[in-house]
Amino acid sequence: MENIIVKTKSLKKYYEVGTHTVVALNGVDFEVKEREFVSIIGKSGCGKSTLLHMLGGLDSPTSGSVIVDGINLSEMNQEQLALFRRRKIGFIFQQYNLIPDLNVYDNILFPLELDGVKADKEFVQGLLKTLHIVDKTEMFPSMLSGGEQQRVAIARALATKPAIILADEPTGNLDTSSSHDVIGLLKIVAREYQQTLIVITHDLDIAQMADRIVRLQDGKLVGGSDSDVSKQ
């Protein structure tokens, strides 16, 4: 039986905006199994990104808990969270978030170098080939197209062979063909390295490539906490 790798309990997140309180997440109970590919869908502002940020330890909940691989993230300090992100999580952002000062190769290896870990050259080369960016390694992010930058962001997320890949609208800035390619690649790599993949998207075509789809609405999971919503 496959283990639960990600689990949230009554997860709530409120933001104070001026005099108003915005409810981003309003009691989310959510589980993901190891090696599962889950899509999270929902309208803009429904809390998808907030949930993903909570799962990756980028943001802290107002209440409730996030347990990843048996560890409660609320109990970790900033240093431990940084270490957690570096070793367990591979982030892919809609805005790519590549480090402008580093070239493609160094962007990809950056999390590894922070750990002082020697890069698995064959693995990295494999990634570069798979993502079709072998000839871009010396280039800086500003020299690349949106699709190329997203591929570099994916390579960076996978380079540390993290247990979980969290992708926030990874195809948001790509055309349809590139979008399918990118998700296809992610799926192949995740399967090959037995990684758990959680993808936020508003594109149902993309979402349907996942093992399971979860819908968020007004900060809550709709139709049960852990059920297929629209697999058909």
């Binding site: 943001d59 900033q78 940084a82 570096r86 978030n97 480090i99 000062d101 070239n103 999390p111 540390t160």
Partner: protein, 826 residues
Amino acid sequence: MLANNNRQIINKLAKNTVRTNKRQFSILFVTIMLSAFMLFSVFTVGLTYLDLSRLQNSRLYGSEQDIVIMNGFTTNQKETLINNSKIETVGVLSYCGSVKSSDMDSTVNAAFLWGDETYWESQKSPIRTEMDGYYPQKENELLATEEVLAECGKSSLEVGDNLSITYEDNTGIHTKVFVISGIWKGYGTDKENFYVSEDFYKQTGYDLESSGILQAKFKSNYVTGKTIENLKDSLKLSSAQVFQATDYIEKSLTILLAVFGLGFIICLSAYLLIYNILYLSVSGKIRYYGLLQTLGMTKRQLVQLIKKQMAVVGVTGIIAGIILGVTISLTLIPHVIKVLGIPLGNTGLHFYPKTLVLSALVSGIAVLCGVRTPIHIATDVTPVEATKYRDNIEITYTKKNRKDNLYWHMAINQLGKNRKRTIVVFLSLATSLIVFFCLTTLIDSQGKRTVYPNYWNADFIVYNDTQITDDISSLQSAIDDKFVSDIKETKGLKEVHTVKGVPVTFPYAKNSFSDFWIKSYTELKPYLSYSETALEYQQNPEKYYGMIKGIDESEFDYLNGTLGNIIDKQDFLNGKTAILQYAGFEIPEKWIGSTIPFSIGTERQEIVIGAVNYGDYYGATANIGANLIISEKYMESLTANPYILSLNIKYEQSYEVETENKIKNRIESSLYSSDLLCLSKYDDMKIIQDSQSGMYEIGTAISLLLLLVGMLNYINTMASSMQNRKLTFSIMESVGMSRKQIRKLLIREGILYATGSVFITLTIGIGITYFVFQSMNYMKISFTLPVFPLIYAILLVMIICILTPLITYKKLVRNRSIVERLREFE
């Protein structure tokens, strides 16, 4: 096509942009303000320094003078000087006799001087601080100082009192009762002299043609060497006349160039800094400018918008900087100095309208030049490019696997990423350090460099002052062995050397050395007849006695060094060679190498003159006959009981007040204290410090202020640079870089900035300091670095360089999550 009247919207947009980006524009405002302030401060300090240097020069020489013509002058020469358009004043001064004794003191060392009205009223007036009475008008009137009255043992005398003096002039030795017509206070080396009336001067046998001194002052504070040379040529001087320019006027143009050189470095630094901040400011808004272009703003309108923003910030920044400069230079510093109880006299920082205009102009030019490139960047990118704009990246990131080196590599790459910005930070920090270093070195050496007679080989000298000119038996044991051992016991002394001496006579023979000596002596005393004096010499040789002075080996090494090591050490130590001491004109070459006889009591000796020492370091003794410096060992073989003529004392630490006071206390408690004449290096320094009147404190305050400005510049640049790296930090954190790791990176960046700046300071900075130092090194002292201020300044730079990015980072992050920070850029 008709022009669109879009001024209103551009103005509104410019105003709103400044208002809504207060933080960024504040940084820009502060930068321009600091640059204007820095420029104003440097120009003000530089010009004040020049003025103070001239004033110090005047105070040390005792009057305002740039050129001196000695050994007499002709009426034509005086007229030539008066008619020279570059000369402001021409004064006349003349020596006219020496005071031998008063009714209270038998060994008075003072002179009579006469000065004309220009000298006394124009040239002397700026250095007089007080004048009670008037300049002598009648033949029996004297103008005195408290110092000369004390020398005569008559400190209590006041204006109108009588004073009986025995003096020697060109007509002979006389005793006369004078009336004190005035007592003055002020600066200068002539305070141990009396000024006399013109009527008295005319009776002394001196005349301006042979012994007058002409003193001229230039209208300008700075003249070229060529001007001085031309002036000298126009005077058609005789071979006996001595033309001398003061150290200040000779170096004035170099000093001015040094100040402007320093100003240029500051200007460059100010320009680079303004350019850098403007660059950061504009490049940080490229996306915004892209948006404006997308909405239809033309490039021309965009340029207008940026220029208007910069004009608002630039003009207010420059005005604020100059107000700050004026306030600090003219109000705050004198106030602080006053509060600290430092006497400022009339030599505080001066306000020069030209510095105000110059600093505003240079700052304005720096803003105009600085804004050009950023405007190009802003207008050259297309609206689409602008939305994706990031700073140009020019570096490659080398491979590395070791974790320890990662931060260093990243830090080095960060510095290399924007070389211009890095150079600006380096230059800004280094400029401040160099200016601080340069000023500290100059201030530290001011006294020694400008006036102190550095050829002295002792910190304190005690002279036996019991000798009377024509009495061979006048010398007393005012310095005895007990006194010497008491002095030697004083803590803080490094060395104590004794100069021992005994009177000797030189047998007279026609055309011999003694004949030459007595002839030279009578030439200096016009009232004496050579033949009569020579005859008296033969009859009473002890009246014309000389001295032999024994010095130890270490003193010989020093003395021989000053003579160019021409004396064979063994010959000197063994008593074969002596050094003739002579504080007058040149001794003819034929006497060097000649053997001269001398007698101690009845015993006759002879010795070879190896060289001449034209100084009075080993005691300006009162005897008429020659002084021979011989080895102490040889002296002991000649006489069992020589007199101790002087003690040359060296401290472990020069200018150590505590040691100085201990020595002075021991002298005061000596039975012979009134017969001891003391010269102190420390006292001389105090006199110089007084003449500098707060220059040291002002200089220190300003150099610290400039260091602070440099630090603020660095803080400013780093703060804006960090602001631009906010996204990078957030991304780094999002992919797993901990805050601790970011702090490690920032510490290394700080260390690199500090190290780079310190490196520039210790290489180029020392070069510049050395050049500036030498250009103002009147006394040709050796170049020494003030180590401790430099170490403190470097430590301060290190601390600030490391803390600034850390604190800025903390402020940037605050308690916001990574997501919040990333969202700012979406």
